[in-house]
């Protein structure tokens, strides 16, 4: 086949939307987390907890919590559901499938979501304009996770490790609309886009 197709170029979810730049003292700083492998994991049986323990040596917390094992970030998104992420190229879904076997239904979603890291002094003021949950540190602790709706768009939201910094994942097709909400809402604080 033709040469052009030989290198099928991958495009990230926010490709063409985020243009690096913006004021130094911006209250909001945004970065796209492009380099992620993502999978959804749904527990299929009561053996799941044991399988996780065997594979990763940990007990999963219950509820909407984050835990990081073997560089894999697991976010509790439902009573039996997790959202798994790992930075880098190594395929994640097949790894999980192998280690969890019939105890889980794993689906590769690496292309299904766009993920933004939103930080800066005004990040909570920004998110208050769309996210209908309480992100005050007293209410939303370091390892808390929320699946919720922002500006009519379903999102997953968790704190990244740094202070005043959140990661937000949403369906790829909605990244444009999410960005239009975010950029309009951030305008009064100043917005800077940084490359990963």
């Amino acid at each position: 086949m033709a040469d052009a197709a030989l290198q099928l170029k991958a495009r990230s979810a926010f490709d063409g939307l985020l243009v690096p730049g913006g004021p130094k003292d911006a209250g909001i700083v945004v970065t796209e987390r492009k380099d992620l492998q993502i999978a959804t994991v749904i527990a299929r049986s009561s053996g799941f907890a044991e399988a996780i323990k065997t594979a990763y040596g940990i007990a999963l917390p219950s509820g909407p919590k984050r835990i990081v094992v073997h560089e894999i970030t697991l976010l509790g998104t439902g009573p039996r559901a997790w959202f798994a992420l790992r930075a880098g190229e190594r395929p994640l879904a097949s790894d999980l499938e192998q280690s969890l076997g019939e105890h889980a239904a794993v689906a590769d979603q690496s292309d299904g979501y766009g993920v933004l890291r939103v930080s800066g002094a005004k990040v909570r003021a920004l998110l208050a304009k769309g996210v209908p949950i309480d992100l005050h540190p007293r209410a939303f602790a370091a390892d808390d996770v929320a699946v919720t709706v922002c500006s009519h768009i379903g999102i997953m939201l968790w704190r990244s490790d740094a202070d005043s910094s959140f990661d937000i994942a949403m369906f790829r097709s909605l990244c444009g609309s999410f960005w239009s909400w975010l950029s309009e809402s951030a305008e009064e604080f100043g917005l800077r886009v940084e490359a990963e």
């Binding site: 527990a43 509820g63 439902g78 009573p79 039996r80 209908p132 699946v147």
Partner: protein
């Protein structure tokens, strides 16, 4: 109105979709001899009480759980909510 999802915590109404009376989770036996009558009742007839009401909500904007919520239809005060999924109820974390 805010609904206390047993998984996610208290969440805004906008994240939920309503189905109706909790009896909708009790599908009649299709093999019973009076299945037609029972299905008619199941699909169409409602107590529609003014007061406490067990009802089904889907947390589609959150954890994707179906919830059985007990709510007062006169005051909208919510007495409680639990996951609808009950039988063989194993949890994935213990």
């Amino acid at each position: 109105m805010r609904i206390p999802c047993p998984f996610c915590g208290v969440r805004d109404l906008t994240e939920f979709t309503y189905l109706g009376d909790a009896s909708l989770a009790q599908r009649p036996d299709p093999a019973s001899p009076d299945a037609a009558a029972r299905f008619h009742e199941y699909v169409h007839l409602r107590d529609n009480p003014a007061g406490l009401h067990d009802e089904l909500w889907y947390h589609g904007g959150g954890c994707r759980s179906w919830l059985t919520v007990t709510r007062n239809t006169r005051t909208h005060v919510i007495e409680g909510a639990k996951l609808t999924r009950t039988s063989k109820s194993w949890t994935a974390t213990s």
